[in-house]
Symmetry: C2
Subunit: 496 residues, 2 copies
């Protein structure tokens, strides 16, 4: 061996440091359970300056008891924290920066807090590592962004630290796995501590500290859209999508983005879809949160299965009563899982459709508007052609292009559909010369413009004017092919 | 409501069917534990004609006690099974087809059994759903390929059905989650049943039946490469890769494929890499199985972390003694996880490098050779440019191309490196006019040719002749740009 240091250095410093920290809070622990009153003291002992701290901060549920306690730490004692958070959702997430506790953040979405993120960045009080899709951020938690501490939440725990998440499992198992097995400390807030759990979602041997919160964790109803607010144009576009895309390509497995455009499609299946004779032929298998607007389609027997990223407030009893359709545990409640659903949405379905706020002439689109740093959550992961895919399906093969340099090396394409009305409320055009995202990226010194869906991934654009079948003609050579060889373009357009 | 059937139909048929089947084996159960002698009877009751059955069948560990028992079922009673298996590794996996128990298979890899797969297909005794990457197959288990029964394996169980997998966690949690929460039946073989587990890898409330196997589950040492078999050309290519790619692009987070080419790179880090002053600058964070050839680099302090798909026989004590580097549990043993490592290998690292057997002039490559239906396991998932990626890194940005139609809409690129000697043993050329994969695909009626890595994803090709920087010039316009505008190509080559 060239190096003798191996014999003398310690190779278990992470585990040792974890033991050291946990020892500090021993006086306030009863088995795995921490005295609720001691939460600020405990976090002050468990979190050390410079740590990477993952906080839940999901798309829906919030470890808000822990984030409020975290924001009460003394910045003289704990500072320069690197925050890993999938969704910056709560005021105290940013209070961490205002108070000088946290310094850097890696995140995927900052919807309601996006203005403040932009402001703090400009004021030099917050540094952005990068803006990710959810699944990229988790990927890096297993590589170079493993957390020293994770602050997560669940519905219930038992005295051994086993966790029951209920319907909003979401990201918890992933964050906990990345932390616990790299000798980080996992702290879980729970609504209650019970003797026996309805089911175990996360084993107690992965959890270090359980603490009963002062009140149940916060959770946002994000996916509820009132049908009465769906407009005429949205209905028109939904009908075009069902007839011109779902029917035409035979789309059985799919994901819908959030919003009224796609809610209209869900609602029209048992009426317009039924009238086209499409029941059982399209829209049978879903990667989707439990959208209330999907209820009519489920009740009418359209839907075989729905795997969910998270849950939706108010859908608990409905889900439990429809266990043939949803993924539920022995206790009857939903088991959601954001990573698995994002995986399914990337590789397991044939179509993604989502709304956008702006699109340029090349079909690049973004929901980023001036002054906001929102991120895209999961849309780019679902809204691209996954080039690692090797299995075929009927729909995927319908987009096969064999006109490349070698026609025998061809592959299909996922359907990536963007939908938008050509004018927004107030008459502002959706189709623009340059996306606002370009200016936002420059202003915030982002290395590239924050594009949500790239035009070269998009196969279809749906507006109230019609459907653009982008995959059908990408160049002049395609126009020749479509003409059956009858179209003879001018010489300077011939390069194939 | 348009439809009154909702009130009258049952929405819990899956859970009811599960209860019905489990009731049949009650006489042979003691809590969650099945009498070992009754395994064939039990599978005969639990598995029903037409079921989708997921069997482990991983890259490494094998639920071989269960697959042997499965192959003993009476095909008159149980037939037309649809098998879901990530790796067809054992003779009895195919005996299921020869005996008429199974009819259709979806899989990701069939290395040692690939000749027999091709033969059974030709004889009409086996039907292939599709050939996947691992992660695609799991994705579909949450969409339209949810299993009715999963046959998995673990090292130990307790009497409540909690499972301890030890180092080879691999795919078990994923298969179990997809099955258990869609009301499928999960049967786990274990090496022993104990009172207290070292840690819980999978909660007992997800497991229906535990059975002690007749002998410990089989596991293959797949990733051990004896350094003495590394040739001169492989050393040369490894040196070129370190200097010309890892150093040049500053590659810190990466994945290596299996084989001697990449083993040579791992071995050269503490010698050649050290001489270039690259320690701490490259190769710090890995998505990789615990390759023995990485030991010198770890011992020399090169490696910060390694997240593993699976484990490797013989590395157990080493891993436990190096917990700063590997992901390990409280018990000290590795926690691997194929899905999370594939996720990390897709989205969390900047470089994939792998060997190939054949490559065409467009850099399309494949390891498929005539007469074999092997599949690619995980290579295509890691070996492509993930277009859903939105975060930047230094290495990724070095491949940014801003010469498209809109230079303000640009993105970086993952480094996808293919390595091969230009001639194989026996003087057979590696660079071919047409991949054998094209003929194999046609002969087996595959919808597209089984290409492992597509040329348009590849950024670099390394042979003993040198490195081709494919991303540097993709067309004539790039050559003009590289010339600083001095090169004036003939008019017919101008189309930009």
């Amino acid at each position: 061996m060239n190096d003798v240091s191996a014999a003398t250095r310690s190779w278990n410093t992470r585990a040792q440091e974890k033991s050291r920290r946990l020892k500090l809070i021993e006086p306030w622990m009863n088995g795995a359970v921490l005295d609720t009153e001691r939460i600020v003291d405990a976090l002050s002992a468990l979190i050390v300056t410079g740590d990477r701290v993952a906080i839940e901060g999901n798309n829906q549920k919030q470890a808000d008891f822990l984030s409020r306690a975290f924001a009460k730490l003394d910045p003289g004692r704990v500072h320069d924290i690197h925050l890993l958070i999938s969704s910056i959702s709560r005021p105290e997430h940013l209070a961490l920066f205002e108070q000088g506790i946290a310094r850097k953040v890696d995140f995927a979405f900052a919807g309601p807090q996006s203005l403040r993120v932009a402001q703090l960045l400009e004021d030099g009080m917050l540094e952005i590592g990068a803006i990710y899709t959810y699944i990229e951020l988790y990927a890096r938690m297993f590589i170079d962004l493993t957390p020293q501490v994770a602050l997560v939440c669940a519905a219930q725990a038992d005295r051994h630290g086993n966790l029951y998440t209920g319907a909003n499992t979401e990201d918890t198992p992933t964050i906990v796995e990345a932390t616990a097995f790299r000798h980080g400390i996992v702290v879980a807030q729970v609504n209650e501590i019970v003797d026996e759990l309805p089911r175990v979602d996360i084993p107690g041997s992965w959890i270090d500290v359980v603490v009963q919160a002062d009140k149940p964790f916060a959770v946002e109803p994000l996916f509820t859209r009132d049908p009465r607010h769906i407009g005429e144009l949205q209905i028109l576009m939904a009908m075009m999508t069902i007839r011109g895309i779902y029917d035409r390509y035979g789309i059985t497995a799919l994901n819908h983005g959030i919003g009224f455009d796609t809610a209209a499609i869900e609602l029209l299946l048992p009426t317009y879809g039924e009238s086209l004779g499409l029941k059982g032929k399209i829209c049978t298998h879903w990667a989707l949160n439990p959208h209330p607007t999907l209820i009519p389609a489920i009740e009418s027997g359209w839907v075989e299965s729905v795997h969910c990223f998270g849950s939706e407030v108010g859908m608990e009893d409905y889900i439990a009563a429809r266990s043939d359709v949803f993924f539920t545990g022995r206790d009857g409640s939903l088991r959601s899982n954001r990573v698995f659903c994002q995986l399914a949405g990337q590789y397991g379905v044939d179509l993604f459709i989502g709304s956008t706020l702006q699109m340029d002439a090349d079909a690049n689109s973004s929901t980023v508007t001036l002054g906001r740093l929102a991120g895209f959550g999961g849309a780019p992961n679902m809204g691209h052609d996954p080039r690692g895919r090797r299995h075929s399906s009927e729909a995927w093969l319908k987009l096969l292009k064999d006109d490349g340099p070698n026609p025998e090396i061809a592959r299909g394409h996922k359907l990536v559909v963007q939908t938008a009305e050509t004018y927004k409320k107030g008459g502002e055009p959706t189709i623009v010369d340059a996306l606002d995202a370009i200016a936002v990226g420059k202003k915030s010194n982002m290395p590239i413009a924050p594009v949500m869906i790239y035009g070269d991934d998009v196969t279809h654009v749906v507006t109230e004017e019609g459907i653009a079948y982008l995959h059908a003609a990408e160049g002049v050579d395609d126009l020749v092919a479509w003409s059956g060889g009858l179209y003879a373009p001018p010489a300077r357009f011939r390069s194939w």
